[in-house]
């Protein structure tokens, strides 16, 4: 699998986010992860603004794989993006 930058915006309480983390870990993918619900105040607002740049609805999980944005735990799309 290619060495793309992978970033995951998640909620610590969300089960789909947890399954996304598990899947990336199983694939041995190195990724940045932010649990936005654990942030407070300005830091939280800044992160919301960052997520909105990629996913205006600001829903979770939001996953960046290189240039690709995937919203929701869509395993096949994630696999595809990691491979391409």
């Amino acid at each position: 699998m290619s060495e793309k930058l992978v970033k995951l915006y998640a909620l610590s309480t969300c089960i789909h986010c947890r399954h996304t983390k598990d899947f990336l870990n199983e694939c041995g993918i190195k990724y940045d992860c932010v649990d936005v619900d654990t942030l407070q105040g300005e830091e939280r607002q800044a992160m919301i603004d960052e997520v909105k740049r990629y996913n205006p609805n600001c829903t979770f999980p939001t996953i960046l794989i290189g240039e690709k944005v995937i919203v929701g735990f869509r395993k096949d799309e994630i696999e595809e993006a990691l491979k391409s």
């Binding site: 909620l11 309480t13 089960i15 789909h16 619900d37 600001c58």
Partner: protein
């Protein structure tokens, strides 16, 4: 209260209304009930574990579990947005399991 206790307390009430807990008890239902208890601790009310709460009960009232989107989501997809509540058909595999898109209008989140 533990997630297991919350499960026992809610199940008869919700099943009577036609909503069933996801049959993946260990992988989905109990973790989500645990998350509801965490959110109750954090915010004072059980806001949906799969949505970012504002912390303002009035703004979050549409996503306090069970959210107002559960009914249309279960009707259309057989599952609520986070997968905690599902239909009997969903649990018994008679309908496909697909990710449920967010029905909540985005502007509600940024009031």
């Amino acid at each position: 209260m533990t997630a297991a206790e919350l499960f026992e307390k809610l199940r008869p009430i919700q099943e009577a209304k036609g909503y069933f807990f996801n049959q993946d008890r260990e992988g989905i239902t109990l973790p989500l009930l645990e998350s509801l208890l965490i959110n109750k601790e954090r915010y004072g009310y059980m806001v949906c574990p799969c949505r970012l709460a504002s912390g303002d009960r009035e703004k979050d009232k549409d996503i306090i579990c069970p959210c107002i989107y559960r009914e249309p989501d279960v009707a259309e997809y057989g599952s609520c947005y986070c997968g905690l509540y599902v239909s009997r058909d969903w649990n018994e595999g008679r309908i496909p399991h697909v990710p449920v898109p967010e029905r909540r209008p985005p502007e509600k989140m940024f009031l």
